[in-house]
């Protein structure tokens, strides 16, 4: 009986349930798509390589499901409140609270059941879309990915759990609500906001606080990237969260009330009405707005950073590994290993150019004695490179040759290494004196050393050569880097076993290997950020839409009065637009505005890392992310507005 009545009620209440239905369907679609990604073969392959990708996504999905369950239970209680008069009437007619709860849950079950079906269908398409994005990021060929039973079961289980949590919230509400309140509505007298001017000052202060947190964060990252140490950023994060909350509370309790004091503004048409409609809503929901703004800020910033990271990946790789392959430590007794490695490189990628270079040591720490590592007793011996080797190594990378006559040049691979002052140093070696030429941080990184000293060739004549290395530029720009890495590791470690007694370092770096490894991380980051952002955005929009729709019953009466007082359809629609639009935009404005500093910060970091080309793209990425977010938001808002308009505007 309940099911039949529930189906009839759902048909009658299509308008009321539309936003709820859309939210559940889209949530199911997102959960199904991501659960299938988690159980996909491609992710399993990444997990095999030790990425922990599956685990990371599982934790993300579980955490987000918790938030979704909370929000949907909130949404369900809104639906319940919207129909409280109807349920109050049922109670006066003798139905028990349990009967009503059963009826309501049967209705919600019907909605969730249909939404589950449609969500799974939409999620099926979404999954293929996500896999296409992931395959693109992994630079693998996309073909239709198979669906997994585990993904399906997990989605159904999560949806059931969400439904149960939502039902529990409804049960608690129905158990507690008095029949009088259900029928007549709880009598709420709008609380007057005292001292809106002070709240406005608090809003401005919060804005200043947010800016201060941002600037401090910027500086800290700056210092960190320059090799300095910074305090923990937890206090900054806490400060930022506090400021966001205060900003929304302050704005909700001040702007509208200050506008209400401006007779010129209020005397224009329905402005007073719109402001009054907003004042109660904004004030009562200011904390929620703060929470939604935080969630959406995370969504916008997370999506931006994931794409920015991806955009900067290529430049970062070239900065970290300027040569396609580097092979360190070739000594005479291990020439055969080097030949074997070279044949493998040739086999996998072809060799376009090969450069040989050497590193020498004196066994002393004259240069390191000026660094912090020396004080911490962590300094290795000074390393020297003859200038001819250095020039040969740097020429293919586009660097101008260096001439050193009785001079030495420090080449740093980290900013921390560039801190000491060597300018007054005179280095005595082999009966000759060498003076300071320069300390450089702008050369491509070709060594794992903190820094090395480039000296005239004659200075290394009596030093011990500790490393003979080879740098390769390959013929193919894209090749199986992971395969070459695996093969080199396997073959060389077998050979190295014979020479273990030498104790010499054996290392190689393959840029293509790192790129393919990082692609996996990027794929997880981008897919994870997209998923989290979509869910956060969806939930924020759902809450706002449901909040708007839950007040339509009362709004209908108010707009009816306006109609009788001579307000035309167009004016009513305009008033409703402002009333709903400002309510929707209130928690959305800050996250959108944050796109600008996030992009500026991303571009700044890129420039600091020397990635000029990527810095240019950051603004484009931020624009696209903001644009897509705004478009989704607009779609949800339009649906809510049209439903509201159909319900309240009298024509």
């Amino acid at each position: 009986m309940y099911l039949n009545l529930a189906i009839r009620n759902v048909k009658r209440q299509v308008g009321s349930y539309l936003i709820y239905f859309m939210t559940v369907s889209l949530t199911v679609a997102l959960l199904f798509a991501v659960n299938n990604v988690i159980y996909s073969r491609e992710l399993a392959a990444l997990a095999d390589r030790g990425e922990g990708a599956g685990t990371a996504l599982k934790i993300l999905v579980a955490a987000i499901s918790f938030v979704v369950a909370f929000v949907l239970s909130y949404a369900t209680s809104f639906l319940l409140k919207r129909r409280k008069r109807e349920f109050g009437t049922y109670l006066t007619l003798g139905m028990t609270r349990r009967d009503i709860l059963r009826l309501f849950l049967a209705e919600t079950l019907v909605i969730c059941g249909i939404a589950l079906g449609i969500g799974l269908l939409a999620g099926g398409f979404l999954f293929q879309g996500l896999m296409a994005v992931m395959m693109k990021l992994l630079e693998m060929e996309f073909s239709m990915s198979p669906y997994s039973l585990e993904g399906l079961l997990r989605t159904v289980a999560l949806t059931a759990a969400i439904f149960l949590v939502a039902s529990l919230a409804s049960g608690i509400y129905l158990r507690r609500a008095a029949i009088y309140d259900l029928i007549h509505g709880e009598k709420k007298v709008e609380k007057r906001v005292k001292r809106p001017g002070l709240w406005f000052l608090a809003t401005v202060a919060a804005l200043g606080g947010m800016a201060a947190c941002g600037i401090q964060f910027w500086r800290s990252v700056d210092i960190s990237l320059r090799g300095g140490t910074v305090d923990s950023m937890e206090s900054l994060l806490a400060g930022f969260i506090l400021c966001v909350m205060l900003f929304h509370m302050g704005a909700a309790k001040s702007v509208v009330f200050l506008l209400l004091r401006r007779p010129g503004f209020c005397s224009r048409g329905a402005n007073t009405f719109v402001l009054r409609q907003l004042s109660g809503n904004l004030s009562a929901n200011s904390v929620m707005f703060g929470c939604l703004a935080l969630l959406m800020s995370l969504a916008v910033a997370g999506t931006n950073f994931s794409f920015i990271q991806k955009a900067g990946q290529e430049e970062a790789l070239h900065a970290a590994w300027p040569y396609d392959v580097m092979y360190y430590s070739v000594s005479n007794d291990r020439k055969s290993e080097a030949e074997l490695a070279e044949s493998l490189i040739r086999e996998y990628a072809g060799i376009r150019r090969k450069v040989l270079w050497r590193t020498f040591e004196t066994g002393e720490q004259e240069f390191y004695s000026r660094t912090g590592w020396y004080e911490e007793r962590m300094a290795p011996n000074d390393s020297f490179m003859p200038v001819s080797d250095f020039n040969a190594l740097m020429a293919p990378l586009g660097a101008e040759p260096v001439a050193l006559e009785g001079q030495f040049m420090i080449v740093c691979t980290s900013r921390e290494a560039a801190e000491p002052d060597w300018s007054d140093m005179v280095w005595e070696h082999g009966g000759k004196s060498y003076t300071f030429h320069s300390c450089r941080t702008d050369y491509p990184k070709i060594s794992y050393l903190y820094f090395y000293v480039v000296v005239p060739d004659e200075a290394v004549a009596d030093m011990e050569c500790v490393e003979e290395s080879r740098a390769y530029l390959t013929e193919k720009s894209r090749f199986d880097g992971i395969g070459l890495h695996r093969e080199l590791s396997r073959r060389l470690s077998a050979q190295a076993g014979e020479n273990r007694q030498t104790g010499r370092r054996l290392a190689f770096e393959i840029r293509e290997y790192h790129r393919q490894e990082e692609n996996g991380v990027s794929a997880i980051l981008v897919v994870g950020a997209l998923f989290a952002s979509a869910v956060f955005l969806l939930l924020a929009m759902a809450i706002l839409a449901l909040k708007t729709l839950s007040g339509l019953g009362e709004d209908k009466g108010r707009y009816e009065i306006l109609f009788r007082l001579g307000m035309g359809e167009r004016e009513q629609a305009r008033a409703l637009f402002w009333q709903t639009f400002v309510f929707f935009i209130a928690p959305f404005a800050l996250p959108m505005a944050l796109s600008i500093p996030v992009a500026a910060f991303g571009a700044h970091v890129m420039r600091m890392e020397g990635m000029e080309a990527s810095a240019e793209v950051v603004w484009l990425i931020a624009g696209i992310v903001a644009g897509v977010t705004a478009l989704l938001y607009l779609l949800y808002y339009t649906a809510s507005y049209l439903i509201a308009r159909r319900t309240v505007v009298r024509d």
């Binding site: 329905a270 007073t272 001579g566 035309g568 359809e569």
Partner: protein, 259 residues
């Protein structure tokens, strides 16, 4: 004294209103004709379903007639476009409803001045008008309160102030005392009389309460969508008027409330 057409505020000519379609058609108004002159206080009475509310709805332009003509200040309402009707309601009609119909989110002052804001009157002018009607209706001390903070009588006086503020040609009352106790209902009727006599307002009120009807200058009785009878106060006092309403109501079928 014979009135000229220029003094007629409201003219109703052979107005008919049908509800429903096909086999299920209800005739709510059946060829009604009457006029209301400037400064007149008219009550419309009748049993439930007699067509009182339908008549008020078509006059107030929130419903359309099936046939016939309605003119206010000589302007034909039938055939007027929706936007013009809204502007007409805003500028020329004032409303007082049974449930006050004050906006609960607005203060009393904001409620009263709303029609002037909708007309986009300059703020100084609106403030002056607000002060004038608030003092006339005795709600000047309540302007900063919200409707929920006032009694029913105070709310209805605020509703009267809102109906008056735009200086409408015609004030329409839909069972304005319906939600009030007898003392407040009496006070409200005295307010109506004051609005009519001192402020020159033209009032058309629907009521089923004979006592309230006795405050009017003229009472129209509706039955089955037609004007069944009409009485004028003339020089009679309120008691006499009440007795006559009572007797007409009894003849009408005893369905009106004569308490």
């Amino acid at each position: 004294m014979e009135k000229t057409d220029m003094e007629k505020i409201l003219e109703i000519e052979n107005v008919t209103k049908y509800y429903g379609s096909g086999a299920v058609v209800t005739k709510a108004l059946d060829g009604i004709s009457f006029d209301v002159e400037k400064g007149e206080f008219t009550a419309i009475m009748g049993a439930s379903g007699s067509g009182k509310s339908t008549l008020l709805n078509v006059i107030s332009t929130i419903d359309r007639v099936s046939s016939g003509e309605i003119r206010v200040e000589g302007r034909r309402l039938t055939g007027m476009r929706e936007n013009d009707l809204s502007a007409f309601r805003r500028d020329r009609l004032g409303f007082i409803f049974q449930e006050y119909n004050l906006l609960d989110t607005l203060t009393i002052g904001e409620n009263i001045v709303l029609p002037l804001h909708l007309k986009k009157l300059p703020p100084q002018e609106s403030a002056g008008e607000l002060k004038r009607v608030a003092q006339a209706l005795g709600v000047a001390d309540q302007l900063d309160k919200f409707p929920r903070e006032l009694s029913g009588g105070q709310r209805q006086r605020a509703a009267c102030a809102r109906a008056l503020i735009a200086n409408p040609a015609l004030i329409l009352g839909d069972e304005p005392t319906g939600a009030l106790d007898s003392a407040n209902a009496k006070n409200l009727m005295e307010t109506f009389q004051m609005m009519n006599r001192s402020l020159g307002s033209t009032i058309l009120m629907v009521t089923h309460d004979a006592l309230m009807g006795s405050y009017a200058d003229r009472v129209l009785f509706l039955k089955d969508g037609k004007i069944w009878s009409e009485i004028h106060r003339g020089d009679r006092g309120r008691q006499e008027m009440y007795r006559e309403i009572w007797s007409v109501s009894a003849a009408l079928g005893g369905e009106t409330d004569v308490s």
